[in-house]
Amino acid sequence: MAPSPPRGLAIWSVALWTILLALTATTVSALVESQAGVIDWHHRWIGTPHMAANARTVRGSNSIYVATDKNVVASIKTKSGELLWRQVLREDETVHAIRALAGNVVSLTGTKDFHVRLLDSKTGQPHWDFSPAGEGSSEFGQAVTSTKEDGNLIILNEGANVRKLNSKTGAQIWQWKTEAGSPTTYFSVVEANGFTGAEDVVYVLGLQRGIAAFSLEVVALESATGKHIKTFNIKSKIDKVEDVLTLGGGSPLKNGYVAWLEQDYLKILHLGTDKTTQTTLKVLISHVPAFEQLQAPLSFVDLSLPEGHTQFLLAGTVGEYNDAKAAVLLEIDQSNGKAEIVYDFGERTGFSSWSATIIPGTEEVAVLRAYRNDPDFAVLEVVNAKERKVTLEQVIPLDFDKFAHFTFASLEQYTKGQGVQTRIYFSTMDGSFHAFSDVESESWYREESLAYAKDVEIVDLPERKLWTQDVNEAGHVKSAKNESIVAHYMERLTSHVHQLKDLPAFILSYANPSSLFTKAPVAVPYSEVQIGVNNTIQPLYRDQFGLRKILIFSTEKGKIVAVDSANKGQIIWSRFFSMGHDIKNLVIIRHANVRLPPVLAVIAQTEDGGHNKVVRMYRINALTGKDHESGNFFFPSASWIPAGYLSAFKLPIEDPDEKTQVLCLVDDRMHITTFPTTEPVEQAFKALSEDLYFTLENKIGGKKVSGYKAIVSAETDRMDVEPTWTVPFPDGEEIVALAEKPSYEVMASLGRVLGDRGVLYKYQNPNYATVVTANKTPKNGMAPYITVYLIDTVKGSILYQATHENVGAEHKVLATQFENNVVYTFWSEGETSTSAKGFQAVSLELYESNLRNQRTKSDTFSSFTAEKPHVIAQSFPFSQAASAIGVTTTKAGISAKDILFGLSRHSIMAINQRYLDPRRPTGAPTAMEKEEMLIPYSPIPDDARLYLSYNLEVANVKKIVTSPTLLESTTVVVAFGQDVFVTRHAPSKTFDILNEDFSKSQLMLTIVALVVVLFVTKPMVVNKQLKELWY
C-alpha cells in the first residue's frame, strides 16, 4: 500500500489544478483589444422621444435633451444625431419632466422612489440627486418650474408635496404639503405676480375631487419661505386634467393664468384673483370655417412654451370621416384677461403634431405644425404668431410605409448671420426619431424603433453564384429566356473573356508584398445614425464563411427592420405595418435557394372595423422587404383569417410549387390553417397530423401548460386542434420562465465520455420543455419559492421537478435549455440569517441512466415510453444580475457551448459550459475526474474578460439569439432589447481558421531565409561532391 500524500500537498495540487484549468478556460473567450469593434458592432438606442428640452441659446444649441418612454434621458448632437450621452434609468423609473437649467438638465423621474436630478450637460452625470424618503410619484402630479430671481427650482411630486430646491446643491429650502386625506391633487406650479399683501408668490394648481367633476383650487405660497398665504377655491366643473392649461407667469412681475374647458365654455382665471372670464366656444369658433364640420369636442394642445407666454391651441377633429384636424392659436389679452384667436391653422387631413418656441432675440412665438397628407411626403409648417403668417412651409420626403404619422415634434430656432434658422425634431409612429434642418447636411434620422425589438429572425444570404433568378453569373440581366445553346455558349464565352481584364489585378493582389505585412483589420468609427433615407438596396451575397446574415427584427411598434450583420449593422430595409398590427411571429419559410430568394412570413394580429380579431399573414422577400409576388393563386402576398392568433410554426413539409416550408397557423377558434392550402399540402398534412403534438399559449404569468394534437376530420377535411393534456400548477404558482430547445440544434455526441472511457448516454428527448413557476406570496408566512418542471410536451408527463425556497420575489428568473442541459438562475435570500444572499445559477444534465454504458433498449426514441431521465443537478453562486440568457449554436454542435448572459450592468457575458457542469467535483478531484478534466467546484467566475461586449454599455438586453455559421467554431451572437449588439463568438477558439495571431511576415521571413541558405549551401555541396569524385 502506498502511503497517502500529506494533506497539505493534496490541497496544493487541487489549487494548482484549479488555477491551471481556470487559466486555460479564461483564454477561451477573451478578446484581444485590437479585435474590439472589428468583429462586433453596437447600436446605442434610446427609444422614441416624447419629451424634449433645449438650452435655447441664440446661436443654436449643440445638443438637444430628450426623454423617452424607455426611461432614458439623453443628449443628442443637433448636427449629426449622434448620442452625446445617455442615462439609462431603471425599468420602473419613468421620466415625468425634463427642463434645461443654465446649460444643464433637470430630470424628474421615478414611480416608487421620486428623484430630482441635475444632470451635467457634457457627461450626463448627476451633480446632485434629490430623493425624498418614502415618496413616490402619481400619474400626473409632477411639475417643475424655476424662480426668476434666484434660479432655484420649485418641484411638485405625488400631487401633494411642493418643495423649493437650491439648484446648485439640490438642498431643500422649504417644503409645503397638503394634509393627509386632502381631496385635492395638485398638477402644476407656477411663479406669477401676486396680490395685495403678497408680492412674491408661487401658485400651486390643483383639482379638487367633487361629486361629478373636479373643481379648480389655487394655493398661493410665499416664494421665499414656502409659507401658505391663501387658498382660492374656484367654482368650476372640470372633467380631466388635460382640460386645464397653465399659462403666463414665470416671474413675479408677470400675470399668470389658468385656462380650462368647462362644457361649452372656455374659462380663464387670472391667478391671484377670483376673477374668471368665460367665452362660449361656439361663438369663439363661429368665424373659423375649418370647424364647421366639428366631429368631437374641442381640446387643448399643450405647446410647452416657456413660462411668461400665453399662447395656446384649441384643436378638434373635423372632416366627413373624422380623418382631419383643425386648430386655432389663441392668446390671452393681458388687459382684459380674455382669449382671442391669433391664427387659424385650417383643416389638414391626418394627424398633426405641434410644437412652439420663442424666436431668438425676440419675445415672439413661432408655432410648428407637422402633418402628412401624402404617402411619400410630409409637411412642416412654421407660423409666426405675432406677424400671423407662415414663415416656413417645407415639404420633406417621408415614406408612409416606413414612418407613418407624426407623434411628437419639437421646434428650435436660432440666428445665423442675419437670418433665422430652423431645426425641427420629430418622432414618428414607427418609433424613429428625425431631425430636419435648413442646412441640408444636418438632417438625420435615428431608427429608434430597434429599441423596441422583440424578436429576430436570422436569414442566411444566398451565395453569389446561386443568385441567378434575374441575373446570370456574368452579371447580365436575362432578357431573352429562350436562347439557343449556341447563343448561350457565345454569351458565356464573351463574358468570360470580359472577365479576363480583371486577371492582372487579381494576380497583383496576391503578389503585392504589402498585403503580406498588413496588420489585422482596425476598428473604424461608425454611427447608428442614418443620414437621409436610403432606398437603393445593393444585391446581398454571403461571405466566404457565412458570417454575414440579415437580421430581421420585429418591433413592438409594428415595424420590421432588416439589418446587415456585417457592415456595422447598416439598415437594409424597413417596413411599417399600419396601425394596430401586433406582429406575433416572423418565420423564414424559404431559405435562399437556387434561383429563389428567401421568403419571410410575417404573422400579425389586428382588428377589423367591428373590433374583431384578425390574423394577417404577409409573404415578404427577405432580401428587399417587398411583397413576394409569385403570381400563383395559392401563394398570395397577403392573406388573413377572421380569428385571433394562438401559434404559428413551420411543418416538416415542403410544398412542391414554391419550395416553401408549409406554415401551420393555429387560431383561437382551435382551428388549423396551413399556408399554402394546395391539394398536395393537405394530403401531406393529413399524413403528418397523426404525430403532430404541440403546446399553446404558454406564457409568463400563466397558471398551467397544456398540450394539443392536430385532428383532421375524415368527412369535412376540417383541421382542428384537440387538447390532450394539461399540467395545472398548484395554487399561487405562476409561470415566470419558459425554455424550449433552440430552433437549430445538432447533437454531435450521444454521450459523455468519463475518465475511465465509460460513457454516460445523453437523454435525447426532443420534446421536453422547461417551465419555472414562482409562488411570490405563499400562505403560512413562507418565503417565496420557485419550482422547476421539465415536462414532456407530447404526453404531458413531468420528467423532473425541483423546488427552491427563499427566493427573491422581485428578481428575474431566467431559464434556457439545450441538448440534455437546462440552466436557470434566480436570486436566493438564503435559508438562515447567516447564509449568503445572491444569484444562483443551477445546471441540470439529463442522462438516460445513472449507470455508465447503459442505454435505453430501443433504436428510436418514443415519448410514449415510461422512461424518465436521470438528472444530475448542481447550483453555483453567480455574481451577476442577468436580464437575458442564451446559448451558442454551431453548425455541427462539435464546439463547446457557452451560456450567454445579458447582464443588468449592460454587458454580455459568456460562461463556458464547463463551469456550469453539475458533475464538477466538490471535494478533491479523483484521478478519474482529473482524467475527465472536470474543474473543481467553485462559484461562476466573475471576470470582465468574459464579457463579449467588453466595456460597451449594451443597454437593457432582453433576448440573446445565436445563429450558426459555415465555420463550426464560430457562432453569430445577436443581443437586443434596447441596444443592439452583434458579434461573432468562438467558444472553443477558432480552430478551423488561421489564427489572427498567425504572422504571415514570419512565414515569409522563414521562406526567404531558407532560400538564402539554399543558395549559400548549393556551391558548397557541389564542391563537396566534386571532391568526393576526386578522392
Binding site: 428578481h811 449568503a836 445572491g838 443588468s904 467588453y950 511576415s1001
Partner: protein, 224 residues
C-alpha cells in the same frame, strides 16, 4: 489591508439616517461614497454609467459628481451591496440595516455570511480593488520570438552541423569511422516488432492453429 477600505474623507458627514416611515416596518436611508483608483483619484472621473446596487438590483442608485450614492427608504434587513462600474472592480459588501445600528462587512462570492470579518466604517467609502481588464494582451511579432521558435532552432542547429560535421569527420581516425558506419547500419535495421500482415492474415484464415511457427520463420530469415 484594512486601511485601504477605511481611507478617511474628512468632509463627509455621517450619512446613515434612520427614519421611521408611515408603515410599521421601519426603513432607513443608506448612503456612501465611491472613490476612483489611484492616489489622486477624483470621483469626477468615475463613469456616469456607474450604478450601485442593493440586493441584486432591487434598489439601485446613480452616483453624483462627488461619488455619492444614496438609497432612500430601505426596509430593515441584510443586503448585498455591489458596484457596477465599467472602469473598476469594487468589493462586495454585506450591509445590515437595523435601526441606528447599521453595519457593513466585506464579503466574497461563494462564502456564507456568518463571520463578520472585514468591517467597514461609516460613512461607507468604497475603494476599487483594481481597474477592470476586458482584454487579454496580444503577442506581437518580434525578431527574438522568431529565433526562439523551436523550428528555427532546429534549422539553425542543422545548418551549424553542416559546417561543423565535415571538420569533425576529418579529424576522426579510420577505426572510429568504421564504428560509426556500423552504428548507422544498425539504425537502418528494421524493427522485429513490426507486425507481419501476411502472417496475421494467414493466422486469421487458418483459425490460428499454427500461430507460433510462421513469425519465427520470418524473424529467422531476417537475422541472417
Amino acid at each position: 489591508m484594512k486601511s485601504i477600505f477605511l481611507r478617511p474623507i474628512a468632509a463627509l458627514t455621517v450619512a446613515v439616517v434612520a427614519l421611521l416611515s408611515l408603515s410599521s416596518v421601519s426603513a432607513a436611508d443608506l448612503s456612501g461614497y465611491l472613490v476612483g483608483f489611484g492616489e489622486n483619484a477624483h470621483p469626477r472621473e468615475l463613469s456616469p454609467q456607474t450604478r450601485v446596487l442593493l440586493s441584486g438590483g432591487q434598489y439601485s442608485s446613480m452616483i453624483n459628481k462627488d461619488g455619492k450614492f444614496i438609497f432612500t427608504n430601505v426596509p430593515e434587513g441584510t443586503y448585498l451591496l455591489e458596484v457596477q462600474s465599467p472602469q473598476y472592480n469594487y468589493p462586495t459588501v454585506k450591509v445590515t440595516l437595523a435601526g441606528k445600528e447599521t453595519k457593513a462587512n466585506l464579503v466574497s462570492l461563494g462564502f456564507d455570511w456568518s463571520n463578520n470579518d472585514n468591517p467597514l466604517q461609516f460613512p461607507l467609502t468604497l475603494v476599487p480593488r483594481a481597474p477592470t481588464t476586458f482584454f487579454i494582451p496580444r503577442e506581437g511579432f518580434k525578431i527574438s520570438s522568431l529565433f526562439a521558435n523551436p523550428m528555427m532552432l532546429m534549422m539553425g542547429a542543422s545548418v551549424l552541423m553542416l559546417f561543423v560535421m565535415p571538420k569533425l569527420m576529418a579529424n576522426m581516425d579510420a577505426e572510429q569511422m568504421e564504428e560509426m558506419q556500423g552504428m548507422q547500419d544498425d539504425m537502418q535495421m528494421p524493427s522485429f516488432e513490426m507486425p507481419d500482415i501476411s502472417a496475421t492474415l494467414a493466422k486469421f484464415s487458418t483459425g490460428g492453429a499454427s500461430s507460433s511457427s510462421s513469425p519465427q520463420v520470418t524473424s529467422g530469415k531476417k537475422r541472417q
